[in-house]
């Protein structure tokens, strides 16, 4: 049996409300809320980035797994906001957590699905017998241009998953990836903010790839939506994952636990992984979980998990995602937010 043996998530303490951003740009907050279904989003502190978020999430995963970090054979961090253009984020993480130096480390990039890529490769290493444990992380401090629709959603957070074959919390039963050349969202080298194709990001991109991976996964597993207790899809806004679930035949009840986007925003590479962490916080033995990520460019990774008897033993060993989202918040005004996100041009 191969699957998740430790998981952990992290979101920063700072928030900005969608209505604060709407007021800044003269938009109707009601219309934004209706269209995107976003209440607020997380904002990284001035001293937080993909690396610090990854370390915080991975520490929580280690608390649950209670393994020797030296036995982790690979560390992959998926993000589109790696702090260095050249120097892998994982090199800093392994030294912070006491992993390695005999460890394979790499930074993954694939827009919003870099995290599920990291999980997939980590899982594959363990499944092949190449190593005992592998760590896959999805984390981001997402960028959204001032005034752009993305500014309402681009947030910060991440989740880490240790894959292994002993004391498995959630067994991975099936995977499927679906990829094509679809220019729905991109950022050219040297540009500060990504660009997107507006409405083109919907049907030809998000929905085509989510449905492509999801339908293949259902066919491969010979399962139906009603066979699952929980489902989570990439959450670029509140509306898309609900619509994807509806088109596939999942109910709102199956989606609601992992649907954390109204209070968190879109953590890009951390989006569906943090949704999965929220589900694992409450899932019970034998529950089935359906997960499909989406990364622009474009592609989706799908996973089917079955929860084991081990999960309830570790759920309380580290902070739960909903608690992190609901408690201990500091709300910023737009000026503070612009300073935190370095959107203000300063003298050198």
């Amino acid at each position: 049996m191969v699957g998740i043996v430790g998981y952990g998530a992290y979101v920063p303490r700072y928030r900005i409300k969608a209505e604060t951003i709407a007021h800044q740009w003269g938009m109707d907050p009601e219309a934004i809320n209706r269209g995107l279904q976003l209440i607020e989003k997380t904002v990284p502190g001035q001293d937080e980035d993909t690396i610090t978020i990854s370390v915080a999430a991975a520490k929580n995963a280690l608390k649950r797994a209670q393994i020797n970090p030296q036995e982790i054979g690979a560390v992959y961090i998926g993000s589109e906001s790696h702090p260095y253009a050249v120097k892998p984020s994982g090199t800093i993480l392994i030294d912070a957590l006491g992993i390695g130096p005999h460890v394979h480390v790499s930074s993954f990039e694939f827009a919003c699905k870099a995290g599920s890529e990291a999980m997939y490769v980590a899982y594959s290493h363990v499944k092949s017998g190449e190593m005992k444990y592998a760590l896959g992380i999805g984390a981001d401090t997402s960028q959204g241009a001032p005034g752009d629709a993305l500014e309402y959603s681009a947030s910060a957070g991440g989740a880490a998953f240790i894959m292994g074959s002993e004391k498995v919390l959630a067994e991975i039963l099936f995977t499927n990836s679906y990829t094509s050349d679809t220019p729905d969202f991109w950022r050219r080298e040297g540009e500060s903010y990504p660009r997107h194709g507006g409405r083109f990001t919907g049907d030809p991109a998000y929905f085509k790839h989510i449905m492509g991976a999801a339908n293949a996964l259902l066919e491969k597993s010979n399962m139906k939506p009603e066979d699952f207790q929980y489902a989570v899809f990439h959450m670029p806004n509140g509306k898309f994952p609900q619509e994807a679930g509806k088109r596939l035949g999942f109910t709102k009840k199956q989606l609601e636990v992992g649907w954390i986007v109204p209070l968190m925003g879109n953590t890009y590479s951390g989006s569906s992984p943090t949704g999965l962490a929220a589900i694992l916080d409450v899932a019970k033995p034998n529950d089935m979980i359906f997960m499909v990520s989406f990364g622009s460019g474009a592609g989706s990774d799908g996973f089917i998990y079955r929860v084991t008897d081990e999960l309830p033993k570790v759920q309380d060993r580290a902070p739960k995602l909903r608690d992190m989202l609901d408690k201990n918040k500091i709300h910023l005004n737009y000026g503070e937010y612009a300073k935190f996100r370095r959107k203000i041009k300063l003298n050198e």
Binding site: P12, G45, D47, E48, D49, T52, I92, D95, A96, I330
Partner: protein, 129 residues
């Protein structure tokens, strides 16, 4: 260029590695070559507990150039559960939230940047728990 010094201090700044004197048990953080208590030169490397309490703090409102955009922020002395005291910035806190004796945890954060194109330096800061 701060690369060499930063790299040298990684075990302490990232993993809170301290030196426990093999002779008298005194813990030095950062590690020393000679024990300040008994002058012995043999140490065992230990990892400090990352939780403790706030002994005292001050709020920085006028900071040096490198940190001037982060004001106001607090710097305090934290006593960790194993008795070691260290000076650290207190992150994610409004100054009015702080009080002496509060429980804190050390977390991994970005400490400074070596200019716009230099290395990023990471280490510990305290947050209230």
């Amino acid at each position: 260029m701060i690369t060499a010094r930063y790299h040298r201090e990684i075990p302490q700044r990232y993993r809170l590695e301290a030196a426990k004197c093999s002779s008298c048990g005194n813990i030095s953080f950062p590690p020393r070559l000679v024990c300040p208590e008994c002058k012995a030169r043999k140490f065992e490397t230990i990892k400090l507990n990352d939780e403790g309490k706030l002994i005292t703090y001050t709020v920085i409102r006028v900071a040096s150039d490198k940190f001037s955009k982060e004001t106001p922020f607090a710097v305090g002395i934290v006593e960790l559960n194993d008795g070691v005291r260290l000076t650290t910035q207190i992150a994610d806190a409004e100054p009015e939230e702080l009080s002496i004796g509060q429980k804190v945890r050390l977390v991994f954060r970005r400490i400074q940047e070596d200019g716009k194109a230099g290395i990023l330096c990471y280490g510990y800061k305290a947050v209230i728990i």
